[in-house]
């Protein structure tokens, strides 16, 4: 376990010093937002055993809510982000309540279909800007004092939010509630026979995951300053699955590594190979499922324990 601690210290040092290395701060913030998104998704797939194929709906709806409130109504960043999280949590409650009526692949299909409804709403609704999306979302100032316009300030704000979420997820998973979730994931019938009201646990897990995914979406809207339909598409839902799968679903740090890989891949590969990125992502999916189901972190952990 000591190795893990050293790793976390190094990771924290790296994250704190990133601005010194001259890495493009917007890129790092985008990466952190997607890492948070993947962690939220992992709470559902990795720790509760539910595959949602519509997580972009939560990410995107929160981004739209925040973007709209801040552009059209002059909300501050905290109110804007909080409203975004509220919207995605409420949406998570509705989608979750319907989705948990089925299990496994059916749950995946139901979330996919309901996310498509959210997509159509975002396409047609009067306040989302339709095909154009929302442009020029202001970042505002934290508590009216700290101007987030500076990428440096914004970076540390996003980093703080990410660390808080990461610790929160660890806390959730290690809590008695999290233990019940894992029990449901491993054997649903056994959890029922032990007297747990599994629907309540699953629904709460769904809402928590949706809310965190929403936080990631809202922050992404602030960081990049725009919200587009691609935030709510099926492709975005697919990418978050890939991030979690590549990094290692059911591990804490796996989704972060997966998100870092996929975002970097998209950023740099698209210059090299253009539109073939989709094909490469699809191929990575296939390889992951066939040969690499534990993901990077899961594979590393399995090797360490075997030794």
């Amino acid at each position: 376990m000591n190795g893990t601690r050293i790793f976390y210290v190094l990771a924290a040092l790296f994250a704190l010093c990133v601005p010194l290395f001259g890495i493009y701060p917007i890129f790092m913030m985008k990466l952190l937002c997607f890492a948070m998104f993947a962690c939220a998704f992992n709470l559902l797939l990795g720790f509760s055993g539910m595959l949602s194929f519509g997580h972009a709906a939560f990410f995107g709806s929160a981004a739209y809510a925040t973007g709209w409130l801040m552009t059209a109504h002059g909300c501050g960043p905290i109110a804007g982000v909080a409203a975004g999280v509220g919207v995605s949590a409420a949406l998570g409650l509705v989608v979750g309540a319907l989705a948990i009526r089925r299990q496994g692949i059916y749950l995946a299909m139901v979330t996919l279909a309901l996310a498509q409804v959210v997509y159509f709403v975002c396409l047609e609704a009067p306040f989302t800007g339709g095909e154009n999306g929302l442009q020029d979302v202001p970042r505002g100032a934290l508590a009216g004092l700290l101007p987030l316009k500076s990428d440096l300030v914004m970076y540390y704000a996003v980093l703080a939010a990410f660390v808080a979420v990461y610790l929160l997820i660890r806390r959730i998973v290690h809590s008695p509630f999290g233990q019940v979730l894992k029990a449901i994931r491993d054997n649903e019938n056994r959890a029922v026979s032990l007297g747990y009201d599994i629907d309540r646990y699953k629904l709460l897990a769904f809402v928590l995951s949706a809310a965190i995914a929403g936080l990631a979406g809202s922050l992404k809207a602030l960081v990049l300053g725009f919200v587009t339909l691609s935030d709510v598409t099926q492709a975005n839902s697919g990418e978050v699955i890939l991030m979690t799968l590549v990094g290692g679903s059911g591990t804490f740090f796996g989704p972060v590594i997966g998100a870092a890989l996929v975002v970097t891949l998209q950023e740099y590969l698209s210059d090299l190979v253009g539109g073939w990125v989709t094909v490469i992502i699809g191929a990575v999916f296939v390889v992951c499922v066939l040969a690499f189901r534990r993901g990077i972190v899961g594979e590393l952990a399995a090797r360490t324990f075997r030794r």
């Binding site: 047609e124 989709t278 699809g282």
Partner: protein, 294 residues
């Protein structure tokens, strides 16, 4: 003139007819999904991509080889079936023993590869496929003018669906296929080549998707992503009908097409989402689906 909800009856009947055409596609596609799922336990996310592939095969067959529509109707599904067979042998057969979610994820990756490749090779603008000579023109049904081709789509879909239902539920081949799903090891000990059956099933399902693609080519723009949003609707259709029920897939496919057409008359804004709303209602009232057993 007779009106219902303040809408002329003729308009309603017209939209219902168009809805039935859409329903014909839903039925064909959800049938293919139900066959693959019912017999192999795999949710085929690549179904929409295979549908697009069928349409492209018809289009390219015409452009490069000068094949006409009727040849394409057989050749395109055959070509896609070969591809499906290869994909099953190379990739899909490795996930049967894993939880079913992996089959979904694998075929999702496959869909990205197929659609991405089509997109890179042929662009996103799409191309149109001419309506075959013999099916041009329109019938006057009194309440509407029905283009003959659309009538043909409905007819073809119903014939194919009935045929597939008959083969799987009423023939010895179908019984063998169902037995392979029930207990593959036992069937294999009787000397039946079970892996071949599975490969053929996926190939057959892929051919059904491709056939729908060829049928659709003359009525919609052929683009790499023509199947990607359709497949989501078809998933919802399958959830409504109850997965694995072949009759359920056919009936709910046609029925939902009709309902969608009707929605276009009374509340057009909702026509994109009505199938999903019905799915939500079915989930609340009858989680296993209308025709599902659980």
């Amino acid at each position: 003139m007779t009106t219902v909800f303040g809408v002329p009856l003729a308009v309603i009947l017209g939209q219902l007819m168009l809805g039935l055409v859409n329903g014909a596609f839903y039925a064909l596609l959800s049938l293919g999904l139900a066959v693959i799922f019912g017999l192999m336990g795999v949710v085929n996310f690549a179904h929409g991509a295979l549908y697009a592939l069928g349409a492209f095969a018809a289009l390219l067959g015409m452009k490069w080889l000068g094949l006409n529509y009727w040849v394409a109707l057989l050749a395109a599904p055959a070509a896609v079936a070969v591809l499906g067979l290869a994909a099953e042998r190379a990739l899909l057969r490795h996930v049967y023993k894993l939880p079913p979610l992996y089959g979904l994820l694998l075929t999702f990756g496959l869909a990205l590869v197929i659609e991405g490749t089509l997109f890179q090779l042929f662009g996103s603008s799409g191309d149109s496929y001419p309506v075959p000579e013999a099916l041009r023109g329109a019938w006057n049904l009194g309440f509407m003018i029905l283009p003959i081709y659309r009538g043909w789509v409905i007819l073809a879909s119903i014939v194919v669906c009935t045929g597939v239902w008959f083969v799987i539920e009423r023939t010895r081949l179908g019984a063998t296929l169902r037995a392979a799903r029930e207990n593959g090891a036992l069937l294999q000990s009787f000397g039946v080549n079970v892996p071949l059956l599975f490969a053929a099933t996926y190939g057959g399902g892929a051919a059904l998707a491709a056939l729908a693609g060829v049928l659709a080519a003359p009525v919609i723009l052929v683009t790499p992503h023509m199947g990607s949003s359709l497949v989501i609707v078809v998933f919802a259709v399958v959830v409504i009908g109850g997965m694995g029920s072949i009759l359920g897939a056919i009936v709910s496919g046609l029925g939902l097409g009709l309902i969608e057409g009707f929605t276009k008359v009374v509340y057009p804004e909702a026509s994109n989402v009505i199938v999903f709303v019905i799915m939500a209602v079915v989930l609340i009232l009858r989680p296993a689906g209308l025709f599902g057993k659980e």
